[in-house]
């Protein structure tokens, strides 16, 4: 069976046969990135275990004194919207392979919008961290706070990395055009970005909302 007859070469959105050899090249690269992403999820799982094991001892200050539901809602909205716009970016890459200039323009638009939404998320998250520290809840205060800061902070670091990666792709696409290298980078980055939102679902559900209940 030749590779081109198969519907999907790797998990996630495939470039499709219209992209010719680029589509085939994506198989190992994107599959490999999925393997990394899965191991990253296991890392997050470890942080969740630590958090879950300290959560029953959360007190003084605990979730009710520390969490701002409105701010968490904003962060969730920013990240969910950015998930959609990053999806639009890969969809642009996949579908508009005819005219190079139009593709680049649309791609850059969606990528910059995603990065902007990501920055909105980070801004809210960092302000929350600052106000938590000001309210006498730095990570050194209790085991629960250490776990909370590490888990949410690790996710924040991932988002920061994702934004930088996104901007690098924007620069690469503008300088070199949408060639194989940046196509593969974009496919992998979109997987990364979507998984950040998946991890955030678990964080806002169990850490923030679960904590407030």
């Amino acid at each position: 069976m030749s590779a081109t007859t198969r519907k999907s070469l790797h998990p996630g959105l495939n470039l499709g046969e219209e992209h010719g050899d680029d589509h085939l090249e994506a198989e190992t690269s994107v599959f490999g990135f999925w393997v990394f992403m899965m191991s990253d999820l296991v890392t997050f799982g470890m942080f969740f275990i630590i958090f879950a094991s300290t959560a029953p001892l959360a007190c003084c200050p605990g979730p009710k004194e520390l969490f701002d539901l409105g701010s968490v809602a904003w962060q969730t909205a920013f990240l969910l919207a950015s998930s959609l716009t990053s999806g639009m970016a890969v969809l642009t890459l996949k579908q508009e392979h005819g005219s190079r200039n139009a593709t680049t323009k649309n791609l850059v638009f969606w990528l910059l919008l995603t990065a902007l939404l990501g920055c909105g998320f980070l801004y809210r998250e960092i302000s929350d961290f600052i106000s938590m520290a000001a309210a006498g809840a730095p990570p050194t205060r209790s085991g629960y706070l250490t776990a909370l800061w590490s888990l949410v902070g690790l996710h924040g670091l991932h988002v920061t990395g994702g934004i930088i990666w996104c901007l690098v792709i924007v620069a690469g696409v503008l300088v070199r055009g949408v060639d194989l290298r940046w196509k593969l980078a974009l496919l992998r980055w979109s997987v990364f970005w979507h998984f950040l939102d998946v991890v955030w679902i678990a964080i806002f559900s169990f850490v923030f909302l679960g904590g407030l209940l």
């Binding site: 996630g12 899965m38 296991v42 799982g45 539901l69 639009m88 969809l91 579908q95 998946v198 679960g210």
Partner: protein, 96 residues
């Protein structure tokens, strides 16, 4: 045709994810209590599935076997590790 289908796919996913986000937030802000917690867990699991299906394009059909195995095996590892740890530590906690 194919193009607008793929576009719609993302929008459906986004709409479902939005609804599944708004439900737990409103419940926590207004109702609270134990029932809300179960709804919260249910919404989180459903939203996880929505993201994997609509944004990450995973499905049981048209997917290569090893791709699904990779994701399902990681899910299994996570369930064993997280579930097991919470079980053991929860048991210790009740004995304290």
């Amino acid at each position: 045709m194919e193009k607008s289908k793929e576009f719609r796919h993302y929008l459906i996913g986004f709409a479902l994810a939005t609804v599944l986000t708004i439900i737990p937030f409103t419940l926590v802000a207004t109702v609270g209590g134990k029932v809300s917690f179960f709804v919260l867990i249910l919404c989180a699991i459903l939203q996880l599935i929505v993201h994997l299906r609509f944004f990450l394009h995973l499905s049981f059909k048209g997917q290569q076997k090893e791709d699904l195995q990779l994701v399902l095996f990681t899910g299994l590892i996570l369930v064993i590790m997280i579930g097991g740890s919470i079980w053991v530590l929860g048991d210790l906690y009740t004995r304290m």
